[in-house]
């Protein structure tokens, strides 16, 4: 009897397993949304970001190991980066009509907040943003559905303040582009800098897209600070501010936030900005190098920012699906933290097949990825930053922080 019982139990367990497997087989096409600003102010960056996220999904599909052979279909939507109404409409479509199980995105902080609060969180869909860096996103009521693989600007500001201090600069003027991103970064930088004993002599916002920034620069220069910290966009007002400052000799040196890092700045402004310091999320880790090779092999030619973060966002969703054993919205949400953090086997970029196998065998993984992913309890990376200096017409990395 006992033996018979055992046999039946084993048989039914096997049957159950089979049933689950066939269940997974039946549901073999998993849809994942990719919502990024394919039009708008960062339209030059988003194609590579989307391609990187889709690279991770393809890797998982091609391995044949995801839920025993499921494929993943990415579905794109346009966040526009700036238009919250258009972005939420796009996300609404992904969730209700395309029925995606999770979303990679969005990109810019404003639209990301809008989508998270009005579409994703109410519908119980996980969002993993590769590039929204506003500190405000740390504290939104997300019920555990919002994650990001990009570090918060609160951290970026602190790191930059430390870099500035280390360069022996103690008195700065601050200008920021008048939006969530600029204000958040400027606030965190100023707070950290003052805490470290520095002085912020003046703070002024600037509007993007103006022809003339002489009044803004004049006001900032009147503070008497020798250095100007610029938290803006490299192709927008930020460039105009630095150009005008150079023309009028208002400041001796400049400090740049991550939005200002771009070769076009040097190409436009020339030798005058040699010695400028700044920081940008990123690292020279093994993972980022592996990812660069992977991306090139995958046909992603550019070297724009946030590609690696996008790949990691896609990969996290893949692993969470596998860890929960189901492409179910709630199950993904429950498993993201587990696959992102220790304990478990560390997983680099390009090793998704290995990770999927470990998870299928009931093991544990710690996704490290291209950007050293380690999620804090609110679901965002702490991130590492490159300390940059402009020398001889190029950005040079001084250290990784």
């Amino acid at each position: 009897m006992n033996r018979y019982f055992k046999k039946t139990l084993m048989a039914s367990a096997a049957l159950l397993g089979l049933a689950m497997a066939s269940n997974a087989m039946a549901q073999e096409d998993i849809k994942v949304g990719v919502i990024l600003g394919f039009t708008g102010p960062i339209e030059s960056l988003t194609p590579d970001m989307a391609a990187s996220a889709e690279l991770a999904m393809k890797e998982a599909s091609d391995s044949g190991l995801l839920l025993g052979g499921a494929t993943v279909t990415p579905i794109r939507a346009d966040s526009t980066c700036v238009d919250a109404a258009a972005a939420t409409a796009g996300a609404e479509r992904l969730i209700t009509s395309d029925n995606v199980v999770a979303i990679v995105g969005a990109d810019c902080s404003g639209v990301t907040t809008a989508i998270a609060e009005s579409v994703a969180i109410p519908n119980g869909v996980v969002m993993v943003s590769p590039s929204a860096t506003s500190p405000a996103l740390t504290t939104i009521t997300d019920n555990g559905y919002f994650f990001r693989t990009a570090p918060s600007d609160a951290r970026g500001g602190e790191v930059l303040a430390q870099i500035v201090m280390d360069h022996g600069i103690t008195n700065v003027a601050v200008t920021y582009t008048n939006n969530d991103y600029g204000k958040g970064l400027a606030d965190s930088f100023s707070a950290a800098f003052v805490n470290m004993g520095g002085t912020v002599a003046a703070t002024a916002a600037h509007e993007d897209g103006k022809a003339d920034y002489s009044a803004e620069v004049a006001a900032l220069a009147a503070s008497g600070a020798d250095h100007l910290a610029v938290f803006g966009y490299v192709d927008q007002g930020g460039k105009g501010i630095i150009q005008t400052s150079l023309d009028t000799g208002a400041f001796q040196g400049f400090i740049l936030g991550d939005g200002m890092i771009g070769q076009s700045l040097i190409d436009n402004l020339g030798d005058g900005i040699n010695g400028t310091i700044g920081n940008v999320p990123g690292s020279d880790s093994e993972g980022s190098k592996t990812f660069d090779v992977l991306a090139r092999d995958g046909g992603i030619e550019g070297d724009g920012p946030y590609r690696a973060e996008s790949y990691d966002a896609g990969a996290l969703i893949m692993l969470a699906i596998q860890a929960g054993g189901s492409a179910d919205r709630a199950s993904i949400q429950a498993n993201i933290m587990n696959v992102a953090n220790a304990p478990g086997e560390p997983i680099g970029p390009g090793e998704l097949a290995k990770a999927l196998q470990i998870l299928a065998d009931g093991g544990d993984v710690d996704y490290v990825g291209a950007t050293n992913v380690e999620l804090t309890e609110v679901g965002e990376t702490t991130g590492s930053y490159k300390e940059l200096i402009i020398e001889d017409g190029a950005f040079k990395t001084l250290s990784i922080r």
């Binding site: 897209g209 103006k210 022809a211 003339d212 002489s214 004049a218 503070s223 008497g224 000799g249």
Partner: protein, 337 residues
């Protein structure tokens, strides 16, 4: 003594030089507006976009010249392209006059009808510019950038403060003086200019004296278009070209024309400088300036700034409203809108 010099240089660098250049650009724009108002008797809201259209042509021609390696360094190549831009602006002005304004003129429509029609023309020009060259920043400045650099000035004088004079700023003032001189000569000395003034002062009397209205209107458009091209190009060289900023220039330009007395060429020039200096001086922070002049402990901790730079456009608006309330005719007793 050195402190006093430093204070003066500081003020020159951040207030006087930029305001002079900006004032000259506004004055050239306001002259066009005021001429059209004087002759055709309506406020031409399309003037800002006419400037953008003309500057666009100048930019396109400049690019062609730059590619061909033709230049007049150290002066910007755009100056060579200016005549083509002027012809383009004149052509589009005459076309809009023929197709839009003449219709209303023949029906003797009320001025407000003209104003609304000009808003239509404004949107049309705006659209053409965006289709042809796009809504983004375009850079077309070349030649040498500075007449006087901050570093050179510091070395030369040994002062702590530096003074920069950009080529575009010097050029703006020189060209503005030339244009204004030529315009006044035309209005005061030539037969056509006198006819224009007569027509502006009293239309019926001028018609009775044999002034041909078609010719007067033609001259008005030609001059306004030429001035718009020059003002737009100089503004683009000095700052940057972006179609939307030209549309925004409409407010300070109208403020300048009205402050000076609309319909009065001299008023437009004075008005341009009044608006420019008010904008710059009210939004400038005087802390550093005071530090040079006053003992340290007397200088307040704040930036000593009357209004934040965000309110720059509000200043032209306030000037406009105050003038219309207090002295609607403007400084030089122009017409009342």
């Amino acid at each position: 003594m050195e402190d006093l010099l430093n204070a003066i240089v500081l003020l020159c660098n951040f207030v006087i030089v930029p305001a002079l250049a900006y004032g000259a650009q506004l004055a050239l724009g306001a002259l066009g507006v005021t001429l059209i108002y004087g002759i055709l008797r309506f406020s031409n809201f399309a003037h800002g976009d006419l400037m953008a259209f003309a500057t666009m042509i100048v930019i396109l021609v400049t690019w062609v010249l730059q590619d061909a390696g033709i230049g007049i360094a150290p002066l910007p190549t755009a100056l060579l392209a200016l005549p083509v831009g002027i012809l383009g602006a004149i052509a589009i002005s005459l076309v809009t006059d023929r197709w839009v304004y003449r219709f209303y003129r023949e029906r003797k429509s009320a001025p407000v009808t003209f104003v609304i029609a000009s808003i239509g023309v404004m949107f049309m020009l705006n659209g053409i510019v965006r289709v042809v060259i796009g809504p983004d920043d375009q850079s077309f400045a070349d030649g040498s950038r500075f007449l006087l650099e901050v570093g050179e000035f510091r070395e030369w004088t040994g002062l702590k403060e530096g003074l920069a004079i950009k080529m575009s700023q010097a050029l703006t003032l020189a060209v503005a003086v030339l244009c204004v001189g030529a315009l006044f000569y035309f209005l005061q000395r030539t037969r056509a200019g006198k006819a224009m003034r007569a027509y502006s002062d009293n239309e019926d009397l001028a018609l009775l004296s044999g002034v041909d209205p078609a010719r007067v209107v033609f001259y008005a458009w030609v001059i306004a278009a030429a001035l718009a091209t020059i003002a737009g190009t100089l503004y683009g060289l000095d700052k940057s070209f972006k179609p939307f900023t030209y549309f925004q220039l409409l407010l300070p330009i109208f403020a300048a024309a009205i402050v000076g007395g609309i319909g009065q060429p001299l008023g437009a020039i004075v008005g341009g400088f009044i608006v420019a200096f008010s904008e710059v001086m009210i939004t400038y922070a005087y802390r550093k300036f005071l530090l040079y002049l006053l003992p340290q402990e007397w200088v307040p901790d704040g930036l000593v700034q009357l209004l934040s730079t965000d309110y720059k456009f509000a200043i032209s608006f306030v000037i406009l409203v105050v003038v219309l309330l207090v002295r609607p005719t403007g400084v030089f007793r122009g017409k009342v809108i």
